[in-house]
Symmetry: C2
């Protein structure tokens, strides 16, 4: 099952490991520039209000304050709005605020304390407006509108959308419809149709490193050191917002201390640049963790599934309605809606499907990218309902899935690319490791045990593009230059390993260069589990280009053809002869030389292709959970968690396991603990102390992972794995809870309160 | 005379101009890193001494001191010595000090004041040794030796040397011999043989920005921000000294505030890195201007020329002996000796020549690269003697030169490349502009006027190598990446102009990327007037490579061949049709794309070729001076200075004139004012206040420059011009002084004291 042997099986020390373990690793947080100011942001106390006036003069007069920025400064920008698909979020609030925490004014001062003091001196007059705090309120007839007119920014085509539109309905920013076959007829002809409703709560990314940016701006250059994971996206956004050419905007990226989607695309970065422009000095803005909780969330949502099935257990059709709570601004919502809507059918065979998914504006924290990107919401609903249906029909959930599961090569939907992994084999591994077949029936008593499992699937690799350069020094040392950001996922090690393997060099001879958009080849972002596949392929090609040059050079010097030569550990082999390259290069070039290999991925973007044919690969995962539910307290303890995924080929087997395990534990936390809650219009627990994440003592008592290798389109057959572990965890735990105590949890997280309420409701 | 029209005639605002004028330009001096320490250096009070002991503990115990480094730390390095040709200079003194100012210990502390205080607590016990302060003393029988054994470091072949050897004689670090024809026989057959002796004084580079370096070192990386003009040379030196692979050493270069040779190659940089390694924190070392005066000088020297001539004015042979004072360590002396020795014959036709040149160690400040690199010393002696011989023979100095001058295409020496400029035409321009033919004879009185001129020549471009990348964005904006350092010479503007012209873009659409050895393609240094020619050619080729890719892309999209297309202002022209590139690129690539052009100069290094055939081009210059000498005070006032040079093709005509004028004024200062003097073993004026540079009021009353364009091997026919203005100035002024008052100044600078002594001696 564990696939064919790979050149990458030997465990390696991550290249960023020693720096991180010793504390030598430098994050944007650590940066300090001469003359640098510190910024703080004044945030709206109102969920929805018109700004009647702002008097910034008292703050500007405070000694130590260099600049105060408000909407009056933003409106003078060539284009003051951003948003990855729909540009509706202003650099700083213009005229209106739309959620508690919306950015109203910002101060740059000699230190953070002075900046904080200045915030108190800014006098803002608000005219409060009625707010909509839930999807239901927002969609109600006559509901207050977040955007009265067409959204403030220019609407642009949604990358992956099929029917995404600009404000198709009041407070709906984007809508995705998909239909295949006559769903109504198929449902009417089904033996059973089950309608179930699932609720996904608002969850924060809770990355360890806060949002931090340092900007410096002169007439000649805008320079930004950012924790953002998409330096080129950011560069192009800043160029547009400030009306400057992209080649004078320079983004530096260093290690990023976790993001999980929160650090993708443009957020507070233009505000930092605006402060630097106005102050004429470098400005650092580091958001507090509290502010981080008010910056971005994962989409809360309501998912209603109508699923048809025949008496023999064959699935027939699924009709779904997905409402995602986008919060106050679009961010990546238009794209997330598409992904959630498309993935809602799960890895099963259908006669017909129909989806209506939409993103609804509410006066709450904006929602955006989160590891899994709509897939975790869809997977929770889909895999929960699959289990419920099996139980209702009295079919074993394993058998029910086996009967309906897509086979290798079967398209996800008609016209899509085929499934590139053995879904059943993965499920079998989970079932086997969990001991599902040997399980004892739930015993009587207050603590009951149960088992559940789930299969996740999402499309991966997106439509990403990457270019790369590989510099090879005469000593046989190399530097890889590409703009995939090391966000803790181990990309640098995997990418350097790809270059090393291609060049026949040991890994410790290859380094990953720092990212600087002035120099580093273009890459359109570190997301969609694409680093190893997309950037990796560009690097493999760049390394191969360097190798070709090296062999051509050697063949020229040796008077033979390149076909006679191989390169291994920086030694050229020609039949039985070996030649050292360094003296050959030094002798010929005298003054020095570096081979520069160049490569890019050639994945073309075809907006006309079916959604599931535009992906580079499929990301499956398999999860099994055994839980113990305390019927007196409602507390759920995960006794055993098994998670598996398909890496195509593991370029770094340890890191692949780490990714799978990390993602599954993140999903575990979201299944049982995490939730950003509102009390009316007020965020209730938007502080790291009140926002409950799992503690070490909460972790599964037994935790296993496995990685299979079914090949993929990336270098050496690799494909992305970073998001996979997120997908099935919530459903597997919900399924295990029902197995244990016979009640169904339809809303995450499964807090003791919710579990107890469900148990008591069932009595 | 001013050559063919060039696409570069339009004056442009230098790309670095606005940043520099507004103060936004950032130099290494401005850099501050978090946790950065400040270093200071303890320097030897003895010209020559053995270090018996150093007790650094009291300094180490001082609160705020993080590290003290001495020779005991240096000896533990894998290779503690540096030096561009002969590696004899320790990172910090080991066992011995060899000049007043030699680095004995260094402290890194929380601030400069603490570091200074700690220096006073370092207890060094010296055993003074006898010192040699002049070339004569150093060469005397039984003179004390600076290096008792073969020099401490490993000797490596001298790049351009023919017979350079390791310590060929006691206190002689390198020797250069050249012989062509039977000089002795030709001299014996000459009507006259004149022997003259010239003395060149010790001169400082007096760059505006001090020597400044900031180092940060971890297990994973050595990082250095440096004012050095040779980032890759430095990278390789640091790798060797610290025994680390070159790809983990990362050098950042920013604007450099002048160097004139002083910032080439390795100097105090390894010491800064060593401090950072020992302290475990970033360290900044900024030398004071006083310390700069004790770090490097131009070679003082004695040049003895025996020149034969026939009665009709034909030069026959020249035999020369050149002693250059190398100071205590080799630095670039071995290479300078070769250049001075080879250039001593000047731009004339000889039947035979013989040179013996050598670099002599003395217990004084080390001598190294200086704009002109041995050529100014040679030119002063040669062009002075040519004038003297003409006057002795009663031949007009113009006519005497005209008769003997090399023609276009004539080799400098047999086997050399031909002279690529019209030397006589340049001389005619000088003579004409000076009004030499209309000059009134020196009138009686205490202030006498006279005119003189000189022709300089040196080989240029060296054996330099450069690679370059040019990134072109879809918007038709470009970033040029190459490692030529902007040291005030205007390189970035010229290099961007080459890329812009090649790509058909306006200059303001092209930017020069910051230099970072991790990313920037290799370049072996910013010297030998090579930036426009060597790096420029690499950039031209990289831009042409990008252009080819762009046209291939457009041809593919338009279904035509690249030959049908031209690119102009980012618009593709196809016959009568024009196509916008940006939408074409955006449509096709969707997620973004950047064209990356790659290019390198292919100048091969051939150590077997004659010296004057290894150069890429010849650097001629023409200087005319009219002086007024006050016979009562000895004060020389330059009334009129004319200087001309050949740019091949001016890529930036303004900047070329600026280079010529700047160099000639620098040489003017050295001719009349500058001299680093010793009193016995003590530097007498090693402070910026006592070291006399010209004031604005000292400048020539009338100052003219001209640039001719005879073509060259660089892009668009350019060649280097940065050093040219230095060459003939001292001789032209000396010749004018003799013309005015009939006395010959054989030692620069021509201070009132020296002039008056000469006048009084002649009475």
């Amino acid at each position: 099952m564990e696939g064919s042997p790979s050149p990458f099986r030997t465990p390696v020390i991550p290249l960023d490991g020693p720096d991180k373990v010793t504390g030598a690793a430098r994050y944007t947080f650590d940066l300090s520039l001469p003359g640098m100011l510190h910024a703080k942001v004044l945030r709206s106390p109102h969920p929805h209000a018109r700004i009647s006036s702002i008097d910034a003069r008292p703050a500007e007069s405070l000694v130590g304050v260099a600049a105060v920025v408000t909407g009056a400064d933003a409106v003078r920008l060539p284009d003051p709005y951003y948003g990855v698909a729909i540009r509706d979020q202003p650099v700083i609030a213009i005229d209106k605020v739309r959620y508690v925490g919306d950015m109203v004014a910002a101060v740059a001062a000699i230190d953070e304390e002075t900046a904080y003091r200045a915030l108190n001196l800014i006098e803002v007059q608000y005219e409060p407006l009625p707010a909509v705090m839930t999807v239901e309120e927002a969609l109600a007839e006559g509901a207050p509108l977040l955007f009265e007119a067409p959204a403030g920014g220019a609407a642009v085509p949604v990358g992956d959308g099929v029917t995404s539109l600009k404000e198709p309905r009041p407070n709906v920013l984007s809508e995705f419809g998909y239909r295949n076959g006559d769903v109504e007829a198929v449902l009417a002809g089904s033996d059973h149709v089950f309608e179930d409703r699932f609720t996904f709560s608002r969850i924060n990314h809770f990355h360890l490193e806060p949002y931090v940016n340092v900007a410096r701006a002169s007439r000649e250059q805008i320079e930004l050191w950012s924790c953002n994971q998409d330096p080129f996206v950011l560069r192009n956004d800043l160029a547009r917002i400030f009306g400057r050419p992209a080649n004078i905007v320079r983004i530096h990226a260093s290690y990023v201390g976790g993001g999980f989607g929160s650090k993708s695309f443009c957020k507070m970065e233009p505000l930092v640049v605006l402060l630097a422009v106005k102050a004429g000095r470098p400005v650092r803005l580091c958001l507090s963790l509290d502010e981080g909780l008010l910056t971005l969330t994962k989409h809360a949502g309501v998912l209603v599934l109508n699923t048809g099935v025949m008496a023999d257990g064959r699935l027939t059709a699924r009709q779904s309605e997905i409402q995602l709570d986008a919060g106050a601004y679009s961010d990546a919502s238009a794209m997330t809606v598409v992904k959630a809507g498309y993935r809602i059918t799960g890895p099963y065979r259908w006669m017909a499907v129909a989806t209506c998914a939409y993103a609804v504006r509410t006066n709450s924290v904006p929602a955006g990218s989160f590891r899994g990107f709509g897939g975790t919401q869809a997977s929770f609903a889909s895999e929960s309902q699959i289990d419920m249906i099996a139980r209702r029909l009295g079919i074993d959930p394993y058998e029910f899935r086996r009967k309906n599961l897509l086979s290798v090569g079967e398209p996800f939907q008609p016209g899509d690319s085929g499934i590139d992994s053995d879904l059943l084999a993965g499920l079998d591994t989970v079932v086997d490791r969990l001991g599902y077949r040997r399980r004892a029936p739930s015993v009587a008593g207050t603590k009951r045990r149960g088992m559940g499992f789930a299969i996740g699937i999402k499309d991966g690799g997106g439509t990403n593009y990457a270019q790369a350069l590989v510099k090879v020094l005469p000593s046989g040392r190399a530097i890889v230059n590409a703009a995939t950001v090391e966000i803790g996922q181990g990309a640098t090690t995997a990418l350097c390993r790809i270059a090393a393997e291609t060049l026949g060099l040991p890994l410790d001879r290859v380094r990953y260069g720092a990212i600087d958009t002035d120099h580093t080849p273009l890459n359109n972002g570190t997301h969609v589990s694409c680093a190893t596949t997309v950037t990796g392929l560009a690097i493999e090609r760049a390394a191969a280009d360097a190798l070709r040059q090296i062999l051509e050079f050697a063949a020229d010097r040796l008077g033979c053809s390149t076909g006679d030569l191989t390169l291994d550990h920086w030694t050229v082999r020609q039949g039985n002869y070996v030649h050292s390259l360094k003296p050959m290069i030094d002798d010929y070039f005298g003054a020095g030389y570096e081979f520069i290999g160049r490569g890019g991925t050639g994945f073309a973007y075809d907006p006309a292709a079916p959604l599931g044919a535009r992906n580079l690969f499929w990301i499956p995962s398999w999860v099994g959970a055994e839980v113990e539910v305390d019927c007196e307290t409602g507390r759920v303890v995960v006794k055993h968690l098994v998670v598996g995924a398909d890496s195509g080929t593991s370029v770094n087997a340890q890191a692949c396991r780490g990714q799978v395990e990390g993602a599954a534990l993140q999903a575990f936390g979201q299944s049982l603990f995490e939730e950003l809650r509102y009390h009316g219009t007020e965020p209730l627990n938007a502080t790291p102390l009140a926002y409950r994440v799992p503690l070490a003592s909460d972790l599964p008592e037994r935790y296993e992972s496995f990685v299979v290798e079914h090949g993929g389109p990336g270098p050496f057959g690799a494909k992305g794995i970073g998001e996979s572990g997120m997908l099935g965890v919530a459903a597997a735990i919900a399924n295990a809870i029902e197995d244990a105590v016979g009640v169904r949890l339809r809303q995450i997280p499964f807090t003791p309160e919710r579990v107890l309420t469900a148990i008591e409701g069932a009595r």
